[in-house]
Symmetry: C2
Subunit: 351 residues, 2 copies
């Protein structure tokens, strides 16, 4: 049975009121403050019906109603009208993002930090899955007497670097050979392929040139696989102010979420490219997430996934505003990255 117009309006009002106060909402509150033109009794009847249909929950008989996950879902998909950011708000974001950040990972972290400051929720950042990165270039740089820095440049602009120490001697010449060989073999391959191939494909060959190569290959393997599992969180402190986290169990759940990160990783992985993904409460199977909502936006440039930004907040989230904000910031990030790319010579005749 579809919801009639009045029920929609009532559901909307309840959600807005609950989002403001975090307290169960009663029929008379709606009748008096949201002049819908119906008495509290009528609203009461509809609220009972909405509960029956699963859009509302009731903590106990004499309390008001609380939106359920299904209620929020309906609101987000059907009722809600996205808030239009004011020029002032846009400027605020633009100003904070204006510094020319050259590493995409840093840019994305910066964006995430703004996101948490503007929304007052926690924000998250995830790097791209490793099978979405291809090797553009590998550089080996000798540092001091016995260390080697490995720099890995991916086609999506991600840069990773790490340092290994070797025992014995490697000549500059050997390093050059290693370097050329690595680039020759792996350029254009995605990280996962390189990882799967590196041992069989190249280790022996390198080893014959100089047997100090083992730690180098190990470290390269490590670099190819790490980031996959790393989630960076910001603004988690904001969350501690929320009234819902005053409850011991909810607090524990939240700390679990940010400590284990399992749920976040899973959702990030499943998010659609270039789309806003909204996961409300128990829509996901993660028990700890039942009182929270996660919204993610996976950044994509030229079909290359470059990472995900997102927000973690209470189910009672200001969807109307958060969704446009995350969109705006995400789009801005992509814009900046593309700009960077264009200066690269992508627009010939401009330099």
């Amino acid at each position: 049975m579809p919801l009639d117009e009045r029920k929609k309006r009532i559901l909307e009002a309840i959600i807005e009121e609950y989002n403001k106060t975090a307290e169960p909402v009663g029929s008379s509150k709606i009748a008096s403050d949201y002049n819908l033109g119906f008495s509290s009794a009528t609203i009461r009847n509809d609220m009972a019906a909405l509960e029956e249909m699963g859009y509302l929950d009731k903590p106990h008989t004499s309390a008001g109603r609380v939106p359920s996950s299904k209620g929020y879902r309906f609101y987000v998909d059907t009722i809600m009208k996205e808030y239009q950011l004011t020029p002032r708000e846009k400027a605020l974001i633009d100003d904070n993002l204006k510094e020319d950040v050259l590493r995409f990972d840093e840019l994305i972290k910066e964006a995430s930090s703004i996101l948490s400051r503007i929304t007052n929720y926690a924000s998250l950042v995830a790097g791209p899955q490793n099978d979405a990165c291809s090797v553009e270039e590998i550089k080996l740089v000798k540092l001091g007497q016995d260390r080697l820095m490995i720099v890995l440049l991916a086609d999506n602009g991600i840069i990773k670097e790490s340092v290994v120490r070797y025992n014995g001697e490697i000549s500059e010449e050997n390093i050059q050979i290693f370097n050329s060989l690595l680039n020759y073999k792996f350029k254009g391959m995605n990280f996962k392929e390189v990882y799967d191939n590196i041992n069989s494909n190249i280790q022996d060959e390198l080893y014959n040139i100089n047997n100090t190569v083992v730690p180098l290959v190990m470290e390269l393997n490590h670099m190819l696989t790490e980031g996959d599992s790393e989630i960076y969180l910001d603004g988690t402190r904001n969350m501690l102010e929320l009234p819902e986290l005053k409850k011991e169990t909810t607090l524990k759940n939240f700390l679990n979420i940010i400590e284990t990160q399992d749920a976040i990783k899973e959702l990030v992985k499943n998010g659609y490219n270039g789309n806003i993904n909204v996961y409300i409460g128990q829509e996901t199977a993660f028990e700890d997430l039942k009182d929270f909502t996660i919204i993610t936006y996976k950044q994509v440039i030229n079909d290359k996934e470059i990472g995900t930004i997102g927000v973690i907040g209470p189910k009672r989230m200001d969807y109307k505003k958060v969704i446009p904000v995350i969109k705006y910031i995400g789009d801005k990030v992509q814009e900046k990255i593309k700009q960077g790319g264009e200066e690269d010579g992508g627009k010939p005749g401009e330099q």
Copy 2:
């Protein structure tokens, strides 16, 4: 008036009991559980005296006593006998630190992580003050078409790297010239000196060679100054389990400490080189710290400061154990770094 032996024993017992329970301690508890051979009445009298002298506080008339900062201070300086780590505990630390970490900053972070896991408090890491780092080598590495990675190697083993994008063209040859010039001018200077000199000393010279140099110099400046202000915290989640943080205001104070980091920075800066520094509650002027203790250990190798590790916990801290643990871990870190240095060729004839 100095404390007689009995008062010392009573103070010690109170501290140990309070450390266990976080509840005010009564005279009869001490009499029954810590057989000192005196009745509760006697202990009661001494407790009143200890309070009078400022070693104990009393939350209210009908509660027991709680150690004051002065009480803890006396305990740490005079009464306490440091706990001897068991071989098992040492092995635990050794195992966790055994992986060969090649970047000192990473090594120190690793150590800090172990510290928080073993003590169950929060741990902190700070890089060295920048005037304690000297330039050993600067490397410029061309990445892709329009980016340059700057790698800064300090004599204390710290490595910093960053990436800049430039507009226009720089030939490999120009990069080599920049590189030699930077090393020629700045090798051996400490970061602060370089920072103070770089603009007057070299910018024009470089600029004449290639005018794309501006962002490079800006970024280098940034690298020379950052880290100074960065504190890395670990295990803050442990703290949330503490009963003292159940109190709203104490929780707020703690969150303030870890968010602003002002107090931590100040204490880290003032810590004595190569020494354990203990800051108990209101011994420092920082209001937020009044219920907490910070212990720091500044790592030094060959007079070169390489960073600080430390612990943040409640005033009611297991001093007897935490101090030896932080010492052991700190010393282990230095040992590892020195080993690394030796493999470097420091011990000729070994390779």
